[in-house]
Amino acid sequence: MRDLATASLDVTRAWALSPEVSLRDEAFGALAYHHGNRRLVFLKSPALVALVRALENFADVNDALDALVAPNERARYLEALRSLERSGLLRAR
C-alpha cells in the first residue's frame, strides 16, 4: 500500500470519513476498508479511531486535534490523518 506523492489535508477545513469507507473495531484499533479503491488500512490505536470517527463533528481538523489529542501527540496524529487522506479514506466536507 503506497502513498500518493501529494499531501493535501488542509487542517483549516472540515473533514470526515469518506462514505465509501467502513470501519471495523478491533482490539488494536480498527480496520478501515475503502470499498471504491479497495484499500485496507490498519488504524493502530483506539485513540486514532476515535479521532477519525469524530472528525465530522468539528469545524476543522485543528479543532478536532485540540479537543481529542494531547499536544505532544499532535504531530503523530496529524501525520496519521494525512496518510489516511492520501489513501482516499477522508473527504473534505
Partner: protein, 374 residues
C-alpha cells in the same frame, strides 16, 4: 500494507472477524485442473441453498467482513450466481470472484461491469495454450482469453488475471505482465499448494529453488503485482514482500466450503483443519469459538525453524504446504528458500500423504464443451 511486528503479533492472536474470507460457492466445475485446491468437479447435493447462502451473506455483512473471495469449483455454474453476488454487493459486502471464464459471455460481462464493489479474477496458468491447457485442460486457454475479451469489450475496467506459479510458467512472468498490460488488467500471482488434486501434482509442478528466487526478485521490483500474501515463505530472501507476511489460517483468514464447512484456510480442506459448519450456530460462532481456531491463535512455537535467523521473515512458511507434503507443522516449509524443507522432505520416515476428506473430482475425464457466444 506493511505491518509492523507488534501488529503482526496481534493478527496472529486473531481478529474479531476475518480480513480475508474465501467462500467456495460450489464444488461443481466444468474443468478438472490438475492442481485444483478443492478437488472440484461434481456438485455436492448438500450445497447451501440460495436462502442459506443469503443468510450467510447477512451474517458476513453484520460481522463487517468487507469483502469475500468467491470461488469454487466454478462459481458461475451456480444458477443463482448473479442473485447471490448482487445480494452481497447490495449488502455492502464486496465480491472478488475467481472464474475459469467458460461461462463469462458478453451478456455476463455486461452484467458484471454494471456492478460496484466487484472484482473478477480470470484464472490462467500459462501465456500460451500449451502451457495452460496441460494443467487446466484442453480449450481452457481459449475460453479464458474469450472471457477477458468480453470483459474488455464491456469496459469492465481493470479485471485480474490470476496465475498459479508453476515450474512451467515462471519463465513467462514478463509475458504475463505484457498480457495483463494489453488488457489494462492487473496481474495476480499465487503459490501452487500441494492441496486437493495438487497432492498428486505438486512434486512435478512446484517451482524450483532457483525459480522461487527469480520470482522473489521479480516481485520485489513490481509492488503493483498482486499476490494475495501468497509468497511470504520467500521473504526470507531479503526485504519482506508486500503483505502481512504471516500464516493467517484461522487468525485473519478462513474458508467456507460449498456445504458450509469452515476450514482454517482455502488450502486445507481436510478434517484436521475443519473448525465447524455454518449450519449449526452460524459462521460467527465458528470463527470466534471453535476449538481449532482458538488453538491456531495460541502462541505457536518456531519448531525446527527456531534456530534459523530468518524465522521472523518467513514464520516457518505455509501450514498447508507442510501438511500435504507429509511434513510436521513444526518442520520448515517444503519450499524453504534455504533448502531446509528439501532436507525435511528427504528425511520423512513414512511418506503417507494425507488425502482430502472431500473429493469431488469427476470420476471420468470430460472434454470442455465450449459455447459460441456473441
Amino acid at each position: 500494507m506493511p505491518a509492523n511486528s507488534s501488529l503482526r503479533d496481534r493478527f496472529e492472536r486473531g481478529l474479531a472477524a476475518p480480513i480475508c474470507l474465501t467462500w467456495e460457492l460450489t464444488y461443481a466445475c466444468n474443468l478438472a485442473c490438475t492442481h485444483c485446491l478443492s478437488s472440484s468437479g461434481r456438485r455436492d447435493p448438500r450445497e447451501l441453498s440460495t436462502a442459506e447462502a443469503k443468510a450467510l451473506i447477512d451474517e458476513i455483512a453484520a460481522m463487517q467482513i468487507f469483502y469475500v473471495n468467491v470461488g469454487g469449483g466454478e462459481p458461475m455454474v451456480r444458477r443463482d450466481f448473479f442473485e447471490l453476488i448482487e445480494y452481497a454487493v447490495s449488502s455492502r459486502v464486496g465480491v472478488k470472484f475467481s472464474t475459469n471464464g467458460t461461462r463469462l459471455d458478453a451478456a455476463a460481462a455486461r452484467r458484471l461491469a454494471a456492478m460496484d464493489y466487484l472484482d473478477v479474477q480470470v484464472s490462467l496458468d500459462g501465456v500460451d495454450a500449451t502451457t495452460n491447457d496441460a494443467i487446466r485442460g484442453d480449450g481452457s486457454y481459449a475460453a479464458a482469453r474469450r472471457a477477458m475479451d468480453h470483459l474488455a469489450a464491456a469496459n469492465f475496467g481493470p479485471f485480474k488475471i490470476s496465475v498459479v506459479m508453476t515450474r512451467h510458467n515462471v519463465a513467462q512472468l514478463d509475458a504475463f505482465e505484457a498480457l495483463a498490460a494489453s488488457y489494462g488488467a492487473q496481474l495476480r500471482l499465487t503459490r501452487l499448494r500441494p492441496s486437493g488434486r495438487g497432492v498428486d501434482t505438486w512434486d512435478e509442478l512446484h517451482p524450483t529453488r532457483q525459480q522461487n528466487r527469480d520470482l522473489y526478485h521479480w516481485l520485489v521490483a513490481r509492488p503493483d503485482v498482486l499476490t494475495g500474501d501468497s509468497f511470504f515463505h520467500l521473504s526470507a530472501l531479503g526485504a519482506p514482500l508486500d503483505g502481512l507476511n504471516l500464516c493467517g489460517a484461522g487468525r485473519v483468514v478462513c474458508l467456507i466450503d460449498p456445504i458450509g464447512d469452515v476450514y482454517a484456510c482455502p488450502f486445507v480442506i481436510h478434517e484436521q483443519f475443519l473448525a465447524g459448519n455454518v449450519r449449526d450456530a452460524g459462521f460467527g460462532a465458528v470463527w470466534r469459538d471453535s476449538e481449532l481456531f482458538t488453538s491456531l491463535r495460541a502462541e505457536g512455537s518456531a519448531g525446527a525453524c527456531a534456530s534459523c535467523g530468518s524465522y521472523d521473515a518467513c514464520r516457518g512458511g505455509c501450514m498447508a504446504a507442510k501438511f500435504f507434503t507429509g511434513l510436521e507443522l513444526s518442520d520448515p516449509d517444503p519450499e524453504c528458500v534455504f533448502g531446509h524443507g528439501e532436507t525435511a522432505l528427504a528425511n520423512r520416515v513414512a511418506v503417507t500423504l494425507p488425502s482430502p476428506k472431500e473429493d469431488h473430482s469427476r470420476r471420468v475425464a470430460l472434454t470442455l464443451r465450449s459455447r459460441v457466444v456473441g
